[in-house]
Symmetry: C2
Subunit: 338 residues, 2 copies
């Protein structure tokens, strides 16, 4: 009993300390890298609206679900999805054990960096490379391999670690939503177990709040040790129509905020924001990050092979989705300068 009272006292000291630290923070601008303008105001206004108790627009905290795409929305995705770079780097690292790869496709093109030729062979070659680099190993071995790569690999044009190419304004938005008791999920076409390696340390999004393209897996006791083995079959392609399915499967509740940057996010934006019927008056926010800044990042959209933004751009005005212009809306791009 004495111990519990002491614990209670310690608890109260921690809470008072917490108060002292958070009060000034609450008064500070939650989105310092977002320039003044309609988009910034719309985001702040939405969050204020749904967190204001006693109003028709109030959304209880457990139902404040926000979902964000990863590639091109939370971090860069050019000139190649970073996970594809990981895949190609793994092929190079594994090549010494496979001398036949030098003369066999799709490995030959992967090793020589001839991506046009690689892609021209169709999806079969890419799937073979993915299978070799992403399956057959244990869950731990895969995670370690990704972590090692993130520690050492550098982006070809910026020279930055890939995890430094995250968008400072989106980090601020995630923090702001967390401060307002939102549950923030990543819903990515990329691999769920690839993103989980860095999502907690980089975005403050824990592994259980990452949804992504998922492989089948098997459990076994291997020499008495509990082991998860990654299988070469896909359980979910978490892209396009797969994103609402991933949300249903992993979250089980419709989000009230969705953010993306490409047509791969179209259905997620629709699922989140279109009212189900005339009684469905809950506020909903959709936003699209438009890559307009070729000086500080990359500029692409309707014609791009990666991150193509066409249909979702067409729908945005009618649906009321915010079109975030990276050049005009963001004062900072990455957390540290190249």
């Amino acid at each position: 009993m004495i111990k519990q009272l002491l614990a209670a006292q310690r608890h109260s000291i921690v809470l008072i300390g917490f108060l002292a630290i958070t009060l000034p923070a609450l008064a500070a601008d939650p989105l310092p890298s977002w320039k003044e303008g309609a988009n910034r105001e719309a985001i702040l206004g939405f969050v204020e609206k749904v967190t204001k108790e006693g109003t028709a627009d109030y959304v209880p905290a457990p139902e404040r679900v926000a979902v964000f795409d990863n590639d091109g929305t939370l971090w860069s995705e050019q000139p190649l999805y970073f996970q594809v770079v990981y895949m190609l780097d793994r092929i190079k690292a594994m090549a010494p054990d496979h001398p036949e790869w030098k003369t066999t496709e799709p490995y030959k093109s992967a090793l020589s960096g001839d991506l046009n030729h690689l892609v021209s062979q169709g999806m079969g070659g890419l799937m073979e490379l993915l299978t070799v680099t992403h399956t057959g190993m244990t869950a731990e071995d895969f995670s370690s391999s990704v972590a090692d790569w993130l520690d050492t690999a550098r982006h070809p044009t910026t020279g930055l670690p890939y995890t430094a190419m995250i968008f400072q304004p989106m980090l601020e938005l995630i923090d702001y939503l967390h401060d307002n008791e939102f549950k923030v999920f990543i819903v990515s076409g990329g691999g769920i177990d690839f993103i989980r390696v860095f999502s907690e340390s980089v975005y403050d999004i824990p592994p259980e709040r990452v949804v992504g393209t998922t492989l089948e897996a098997e459990f076994e006791l291997r020499d008495g040790i509990p082991t998860i083995v990654r299988k070469p079959e896909i359980s979910l392609v978490d892209d396009k129509v797969g994103k609402p399915v991933g949300i249903y499967r992993h979250i089980g509740r419709r989000p009230i905020i969705a953010g993306g940057n490409s047509d791969g996010d179209l259905q997620m934006l629709q699922y989140t924001t279109i009212p189900r019927d005339s009684n469905d008056t809950r506020p909903r926010l959709g936003l699209i990050v438009h890559h307009t800044d070729k000086e500080r990042e990359f500029a692409y959209g309707r014609e791009s092979h990666i991150g193509k933004l066409d249909k979702a751009m067409d729908e945005a005005p009618d649906r009321g989705w915010l079109l975030i212009d990276m050049k005009d809306d963001w004062s900072t791009m990455y957390p540290t300068k190249p």
Copy 2:
């Protein structure tokens, strides 16, 4: 700015109120329905150990993952899994639109309540009933149907609503873990979308922390309305070897507490508690709820068709899993008496 300062002030009042309310609660017994004894002490000791900062056994809050089976662990499961009762009730409700069911198996046996004959026809018949009652409809229609059933259905021997047949000591354990910043998940062989209908209101476990047997689903804009349709294919059988796979898929982190009641939980208990190697010294807790109380609930185990507890019981002593004797360890069974 004035608005933000006012918000900060309101925030501080809320926090002080929170303090005043929680201090007495911290001194109270967190597990009043658990009788004094080795199992109670082991649970309290484990949670105190992993939450004590500055010790070798300390586990940071984000990594405090606890997983519990549902049927037979958080609520009763006799004489039939409650979801099977739902299925049979749905068949009865749908029968007037299908006059041919009166003379066609497996419907005939389902409608007459001849479960022995139903089961004797093999898994095919059961799967057909599951398909008819659980698939083809939208996500919302399925959830509404389950919610309506839970409101009206009563257990055949206790006369209680099924959601009243939850175990008070396990509710206290979930609350105690939440108070200690654990993330508590359900990992069930039952249907993920069935459990999600009541998990938040009944257990305080939100939908995104429910893992269970999962169907494939599809997204479409149906007459312009975003719609998830449940498909008659299984994405995950979240039972036995499927439970660690479900944990990997949905949580992406090994739990430190696992609780079950049958051989269906064996692999989840192994995955949670067996050290990976000699460096893996993190504390782990496994517990098995043993149904020993035929007066207040049901008594079954090694020979039972539902909730068979045999191999896991054999492994428990060597693995150090707590065997919770419901009759001896629990002073209360259900939150309200029948």
